[in-house]
């Protein structure tokens, strides 16, 4: 088997619900992140050191980052955990495709190379954006769809739909394309060229996670902002 991003199959059934390969991979990723988080915060110290220090610094940094990004601090505080989770999940998923064996061991490939995964993430973002808008402005939030005039409704709707769609397609396209190119390179030249490409992939995987998170934050900020 040799399936870079081309894997599609049901691993087993949980009652009537089919469980795909990527779902199991996601479980592994969740377990990994969860164990690291557990280890980091198992024994909280007043003066942090080691793993706790690194993990704390990461979380605090994301708080600062989102606060800077979103202007309103209470919004940033409220949605920073969600956005951090996006970031962690996506970056670990992306990197899981760079471990030897991804796309070769049957059933193992990065979840973000599957467009069902990225669609789910983009839908969560879209849903969160609308919820955040309503939570901040109440029913006045609907007003921004018809501003500055009702004539703009289709344009505003198109923009609103384009947001999650761009998130979904960019993440999937990048990771899937990366996997494809990697497979192709490995097919052509088994050693040197792929290693160059993988160096690039290390960077690209991180950038895609950051971009997804930043854009989600920006959409939430726009929905909860002053309105236009």
């Amino acid at each position: 088997m040799f399936t870079f991003g081309m894997l599609d199959g049901v691993l087993f059934h949980l009652g009537p619900i089919p469980v795909d390969h990527i779902v199991v991979t996601q479980w592994a990723i969740i377990a990994l992140i969860g164990i690291v988080a557990f280890m980091a915060t198992r024994n909280m110290q007043m003066v942090p050191r080691g793993l706790q220090n690194a993990f704390e610094a990461l979380i605090v940094w994301t708080y600062d980052f989102f606060t800077q990004l979103m202007d309103k601090e209470h919004i940033a505080k409220k949605y920073a955990p969600l956005l951090s989770t996006f970031f962690l999940f996506i970056i670990v998923s992306n990197y899981s495709g760079l471990i030897p064996g991804a796309g070769q061991i049957p059933g193992y490939q990065p979840p973000t190379a599957n467009w069902n995964t990225t669609l789910a993430l983009a839908l969560i973002t879209a849903f969160t954006v609308q919820v955040a808008g309503f939570a901040e402005h109440g029913l006045h939030y609907l007003g921004h769809f018809v501003s500055p005039s009702p004539l703009m409704l289709p344009l505003n709707l198109l923009e609103e739909i384009a947001h999650p769609l761009s998130l979904f397609l960019r993440l999937f396209g990048n990771i899937f394309g990366e996997e494809m190119i990697l497979a192709f390179m490995l097919f052509l030249a088994p050693f040197f060229v792929p290693s160059l490409l993988m160096g690039l992939s290390v960077l690209l995987a991180a950038i895609q996670a950051v971009v997804f998170t930043i854009l989600s934050a920006n959409y939430i900020a726009t929905a909860t902002g002053e309105g236009h």
């Binding site: 980052f65 990004l69 703009m152 344009l155 384009a162 934050a217």
Partner: protein
Amino acid sequence: MGENKKNWPKALANAINLATSVAAVIALGILGGGWLDKRFDTGIVFTAIGTLLGVATAGKIMWERFNEISKTGKKDKK
């Protein structure tokens, strides 16, 4: 205040947002129009409408972004 220079996450987010939104909106317009055409067998009517809508929305996004930038620029000068 130099707030604009300091707030690089926001600048970065706005830049990425502008670029991707413009591209996605036009693509969505064209593809959505094409899909509707295929669905209703109407030649290129919906594709044309969709393309126009997409381009208009792209223009709107750019216009908004431009206004925002000039507004914050004025605020900075004050």
